[in-house]
Symmetry: none
Subunit: 190 residues, 4 copies
């Protein structure tokens, strides 16, 4: 009996279909309302409530499952940035990518804003992500591209705050949301 996983493997065909349906409906709910009412999500997905709970025994597990894709892509991007030469460019690329993902995925923002992980694989990816970002931050700091007093956790908070800034309000920010990441990058320079 495996622990709850945000990214399960070896699902039966019908189980995978149900899971995908649930995630699809859940994603819409979270983006529109910030809530994840399992009852309605199950109903809308055309799936029994018990099935929904089998797949996602807790709201956190659902949030982490929703965020998992973006988390994976983020980790990929960070790995790429680490492999690059220019520390400042790598740092800027990482911040920009993270900002974009956070703006596009409310579940990712909620997960990172919380800062705690219950599913083993989400925690693992997040741990690796933070470790890699730490490397990028060190290099950026040494190359004089980053304020000394900002660490990984500060960046996590600031990025979540910025995506909230871009997303919040009656009208979400439009195309020009890149402006904000410029403000952030400017502010992070010593």
């Amino acid at each position: 009996m495996p622990e709850t996983l945000a990214r399960p493997t070896g699902l039966r065909a019908d189980a995978a279909r149900n899971r995908a349906r649930l995630l699809k409906v859940a994603r819409r709910h979270h983006a529109q309302t910030g809530q994840l009412p399992l009852n309605s999500i199950a109903a809308e997905a055309g799936v029994g409530i018990g099935t929904a709970y089998r797949h996602f025994p807790s709201q956190e597990s659902l949030v982490e499952a929703l965020a998992m894709d973006a988390l994976d892509r983020l980790l990929d991007a960070v790995k790429h940035a680490i492999a690059a030469n220019d520390p400042e460019r790598a740092f800027r690329a990482m911040v920009t990518t993270a900002y974009e993902h956070l703006c596009d995925d409310t579940a990712l923002t909620a997960l990172l804003a919380g800062g705690t992980f219950t599913c083993a694989d989400a925690a693992a990816v997040a741990g690796e992500l933070f470790a890699d970002v730490d490397i990028l931050l060190r290099r950026a700091r040494e190359s004089g591209a980053l304020r000394a007093e900002i660490d990984v956790d500060d960046l996590r908070r600031l990025l979540c705050g910025f995506s909230a800034a871009a997303t919040a309000g009656p009208v979400p920010l439009g195309k020009d949301r890149e402006r904000y990441v410029e403000v952030l990058l400017g502010g992070l320079r010593p």
Copy 2:
């Protein structure tokens, strides 16, 4: 029948007392949970639920009433800043003050993040506030202390995002939250 006001005048003594009690309890709830359950708030305040609804017919009116004090103080601070000479110092003072207020008052943050106002007086104060901030921004821009593309609404978003960054997560930021306003101020420079 007067419109709902966030800062009513001419209340009977007992009505004023009830209102104050409700606000006190509501403030604690909002700060601790981000929620404003009128039933429990009325019960804890020792006030009938009907009375609570008479004072605050909607959650928004309660949020605006909660934020009204901070909104007033903010407006005061901005008026002071306008009266000063140095545009850059005035701008910095305004941003810093706003940041502090937002970090300290979850209702103010919720209200400004939403960006809409239902009570006439709250809307009035906010309108004046935004107008005055706009003046400060113009001056700062002209004096070369502020990026050209940032307007009042951007600043509103960014400030809300920054206070969210400082507040969010399992552990709210401690004493050193001023660090973040430095990042913001740095980022806002051209």
Copy 3:
């Protein structure tokens, strides 16, 4: 705002009617199934679920309200027994009465079997009841009508056990359930 009470006073007419309906339905449920599902009870009583929770915020409060009548009558009977002269007769009368009440009221049995009370007035009546029974037990013990090692709590357990014995099973015991109280009284003699 008074604490939850098992025997409230000064209810509005409609509130009293709802309360009575709820208790009536609840009593039937408890007698037949030993359960107290508030949802179904409210529905059967023709009362909103919220109303049910207003009257009985917890299952315990409902059990105690159900048992309150019997508890009162029991206390009355014990007071009478205390006023009598013959310690043995008083003791026997008390045990018999308690047994009868327990056999007739499953909620009373459940409450006394648990031995804990959450409503202030139920706790008060129970406390007085136990104190008075203790007096009866002392007298009975002194007059040689009761084993030395049996105290109030033992009697509570034994009476609950006996009423369970008379009640349990596919067919509850019929008219001749008095036989069992004779066994109990016989067993309690030194």
Copy 4:
């Protein structure tokens, strides 16, 4: 298709292992909570829920399987008692043994309190048990050691009631639970 049995024979090795695991977990659940939630029991036992249902198609069959061991031991003890000479000693030994088993095994108590059996072999053992106890009761009655009006079914009820008395409440009775069997034995004398 054989009837469900509380004590099946000729199980495959893995089936027997699964059955044992289920019983072990179920016993703990029943002792601690009085409930037998098949889903959780199967999960905790590391066995598929379908397998659990194959072994125990109903809650009763599970209860009977749990009680089977104790039922066997009880029957053994009664056979021994029948073989003895002194009818009163035999009777007392039987009552005491039964009481001890009931106090120690919540499933046995639940089964005997219900008084109905669905598995053929449980019914058979219980039938033999009751018949043998009946013999002991007759002898005891004849030798003047037992009230005339108490029959096997009364004893079943009373024993269940007494073990409930010893077990119930916030604090189960401690070491001195033998006291209660003395009360019972005393009460059963003419």
